[in-house]
Subunit: 380 residues, 4 copies
């Protein structure tokens, strides 16, 4: 069976540029049934030397230093945006107008307003689109979705989720520039809210439905940092930490926290959901396990099941190795590529679409407003 | 060395009556150096048969059916209050006025107002007093206090604590009466806030200092339950779940949650504190372990230390067995008895005193007000 | 209901003297339904001052300095032997001949030969007898027994058990004398084999039936230590470490290891049993949990159940607190006292009887012979 | 920098054919500094359709159906053997004689005798060679090696290692043929000994040095299974389970166990090493963590460190993502490819060489002999 090529134009060659590139290269090996095959047509970055080097390392056929040139190329089918959040809006809209499919790294944009324009653009253009909320596609998380959708937990009472890191505690760490734009609200939109809580919120709404109102608190522990663009000490504009509680539309209570000041936690994304019949929990540091509790178990042996999500009947796992053998973080991106390609075959939407991802942006905006105003904020 | 007797008059023979009685009986065996020895002089309860039976089982020399009679007895040194929260105020004040020492089960009372009167009473009477926030005296928790006080964590950024249970999910469970007064706000003051979060708050303020403001959300999932006193379906008046975030006086952020609707968690009291140099966490289901992270560890072996708190140099543990051998929940009460007896020897205060416990009541009241009013509330 | 007194005469006031004494004092409080009540009549030790002090601390009515005098007393119903292993034989036989019940700390004796004489003595005298293999009565271990007896695991393939400690690694630690007789084969009979593996073997045979042959290896890492009785460096005569594999009568394979040279393990007694349908594992450092795996679980949620053994339907737990609240090491002795008292009421045997405990001695002897001879040894 | 191609000829397209192919394709992306780049020149298998299909899926340029033809090709630099164990000897020797580098899946062969011929062949031919004991290159295991080599543990007392699976418990599972040759001793040489314990032994000798003698026990629980080649019930010739204890040359004791009858364990490879100052343990189900205990830690915080091996200063991890993000099983093969390519650059040996892997074969043979003869066997 001859494969259909899908010509990829990647914008940005940072951390996410690597995870996406790896996704494109691995998907055909492990999902050989797919009709489409990604072709690494071009990568684009402002620094020519680094862009060229990235193209050579990853096997991109060509490179560009102006994303507008990339978008204008006829030999590109899909634009994948891996640049800082402040560029998502402009690139995505231009790509959509040029009739390209658009894959955008999360969060969709800095704000709901920016994101809404992007939704309009892709919908008017009628182009395939998706946002890389990759954690949905960790097999254990996909399994959680399946178990919840089967109704195993019954009525839901609680959802709680954390994303804890500790990499910005040192006050000597600067902000801004290519490496540290996530510490600059101008580039990132916000701090942990858009970077980390956005993941928690996307998964939460996927698993547990919409959020109706929020009450939040944010904090910036280090008030000033050297800015890499100005070379001067500048006010830190992002939220270092954010916690919020909320109501879901189904009546359950949500509790979310993220920080980059939790010593001992490198990237501890955790989630737990409690229902009338059972509960589920998961954490990213041990990502192949899902914990599951079922009150209907015989009382003498009732306890949390620690499920090693590696058997062939688990989501995605028939494509990998054998029971007991772990996969890692990067595989979530391979899965998203595979699902995106499959959606093209099937003519379906690869979730989260821009439209779906906009809902997360709305919650993030409400969280930031709530924290700023010290009041509850309803989600429109 | 002849021991000095301390004649105890216990009010209430329920769950807490048992834990306290066990504490009085075990303390002399394991803390033989103490000058005072508790004597189980009398137990008091309204139901004569049950009270008499309890006295026989636990070895109380006598019993009473009216607490006023107990308070009036000359042969009682200390009144220990294990009755529902709505009785704490009256009994404690009467006991203090009668010149008795007062030990009161937590929370101090239903409200700050009730508690404040009790503080005044014991202070005016000049009698020894303490509130049974027993979890301070789990050796692992006491060790956490020691490590924090030594400054090992540095500047504190985060404190988070949960108390999760699942025993009231069944809608057929009634409310009220002797066994289920904790589900009736008239008797208990509140639901999980006063029953469970009060523990979390007491420990938190002991470890991390005062709380300055709170923003909370409560929920009552089951709206009506059969009331055991009226025999009718009645509105449920307690909070089934409560979450709040807050600021501590030291600038750190707090996040607290409690519920009786978290399937799979029987009595999961957890706490975690994150500082600039390190972090500590603990949970009640595995109470002999303390987890500790120190960023100053050599980077190749840096990770959470899982410390089995059973060696002789750990708090209280020189009184028990040998390294590796666990103790349990009930030992926290034995330790509180021992510390109370020691405080009498030394003329010091056995913390938490009524005055200290009132601070927890203030936070609880603020939490309930914040939830009711949907706004931030400052702690006076 | 008037209680029947059971007058206890305790021989030895060391670590085990404390655990047994605590058992006698706690059992009536928590098992009030028992017909018999232990009375701490007398404690016996060679050092008068220490014995008198122990009697005062624990509330023994009297003391003796010669165990023969104790055995001769008319007011003693049961002799409890907590002295070094080399004294078990003589005391137990004398006690039985005097018509006393005999409770003996494990192992029954230094050798099978010594133990066999003791079995004969108690059987000829017709007196109640038991050996304190207390770990059977950790609720999680008792639950394992129940689950296995119900046939939940099906045909058994494997049993493995470790007892790892690290307290003798320091070469400066002396041997012998009152505190360190466990390091002297003359007093103890053997090293880790009789002290620690004996526990593993007793539990194993209780759960999985008899052992038919063994192949073992022992090691003494520190060859000489200062002897506290001679004041000189003397050859170390005990086994510091012992491992063996074996066949059980049911066709399953056994694997056992014990050492006092495993850094990081204070008293890590672990056991695991694998059957055709399921598996069970447990460890002493987290003694309230039992882990259970059932292959018949739905494959999507199949995993080890972590059961917190604290609910009222779990073995012994209806006598303690409420779900989620842990008990500790010492409770296993309280349970053995309660079961012994119950056996007197019922006229049944309190297992392990001397006869049962002799089977463990046989395995220990075979293990030591196998290691010495470097060959397989059949159990008679 | 132009890359030097290394033309790979792969023999076998099963499970290991996939892991190796993935290794060749991933290594250049994540180790771009390497001078050599693998080129997937040809794959060889007896079934033409399957071989052709595999070549298409993985991007091999060509395929062969006779390994002798592959070995004869001038455009192949290295032969990678992924076929059943009974073919390793012949293919490896032919490849060496043809001047090809040889990479051989473990174990080196069915027996020491077969393996010794292979060592001779590659040494006489002077060709680069390695055996795929991939678990050495899990970063956490490589870190263990580094910590031990730095002397952090001091004198070693114990090494214990298990490899537990449960996939052959069903008596209806057949043996033999392409999919189940591991259950047929003619093809595999032995059962769990060569398949699973060989991994444990390779890692053990790498970490802790040579083994001098062994005492073993094996068992075959299911005596007969349908053979896929004959279609008849045939005697099962492999060992279903194997345990052995041993002495290492450094005086420490070893204890090893493997089985495919341990319900609940899919691929639970565990190892633990105990030294005078500290201990290390690891397990494959949670492969990104290493647990480390250091007795020199301050006693109040002394406990097992749970190290998430994901930081850039950990072995191999500077080539992957960021701290906290996990990698998986397959990465160990990518690392072995990278190290093999580097060894070509440097003119060094990529361990384990055939010669080193022969030492593992010797231990396996001794284990099987010991079990068969029920006696201790010295390693030559």
């Amino acid at each position: 069976m001859a494969k259909k090529p899908l010509n990829i134009g990647l914008v940005g060659y940072g951390f996410m540029g690597r995870t996406h590139s790896n996704g494109y290269k691995r998907a055909p090996d492990f999902f050989p049934e797919l009709e489409y095959t990604p072709v690494l047509k071009a990568v684009c970055g402002r620094n020519e030397e680094k862009t060229k080097d990235f193209a050579a390392k990853w096997g991109y056929e060509s490179y560009e230093t102006d994303w507008k040139a990339l978008v204008a190329r006829d030999d590109i089918d899909a634009i994948d945006i891996c640049t800082p959040n402040n560029t998502h809006n402009e690139i995505a809209i231009a790509a959509a107008k040029a009739g390209k499919m658009v894959l955008c790294e999360k969060p969709i944009a800095r704000t709901t307003a920016e994101g809404a324009e992007m939704v309009t653009a892709v919908e008017e253009a009628g182009v395939a689109n998706t946002v890389w909320y990759n954690y949905r596609r960790i097999p254990a998380v996909s399994l959680a979705k399946k178990l919840i959708d089967e109704g195993r937990l019954g009525r839901i009472f609680h959802y709680r989720s954390n994303f804890l890191q500790d990499w910005t505690i040192n006050a000597d760490l600067p902000q801004g520039g290519e490496a540290l734009w996530r510490l600059d609200a101008e580039a990132a939109g916000s701090g942990v809210t858009g970077d980390l809580l956005a993941h928690c919120i996307d998964t939460a709404m996927w698993l547990n439905g919409g959020i109706v109102d929020v009450s939040a608190m944010t904090e910036t522990f280090i008030k000033e940092r050297m800015h890499q663009l100005t070379g001067k000490m500048e006010k830190v504009t992002i939220d270092d930490a954010c916690v919020f509680h909320c109501h879901f539309a189904n009546g359950s209570l949500g509790l979310f926290e993220s920080t980059r000041y939790a010593r001992g936690h490198k990237a501890l994304y955790t989630l737990e959901i409690n229902g009338e019949h059972g509960s589920i929990r998961w954490d990213l540091h041990d990502l192949n396990h899902l914990e599951y509790f079922d009150h209907r178990d015989d009382s003498l042996v009732r306890g949390w099941h620690k499920v090693h999500v590696s058997d062939g009947d688990m989501p995605y796992m028939d494509h990998w190795w054998v029971p007991g053998l772990s996969i890692g973080y990067e595989h979530s991106f391979v899965h998203q590529v595979a699902d995106f390609l499959k959606s093209l075959e099937d003519g379906t939407v690869c979730e989260p679409s821009f439209k779906t991802a906009l809902e997360t942006a709305k919650v993030c905006d409400a969280v930031l407003e709530s924290a700023a105003e010290r009041k509850w904020v309803d989600i429109a």
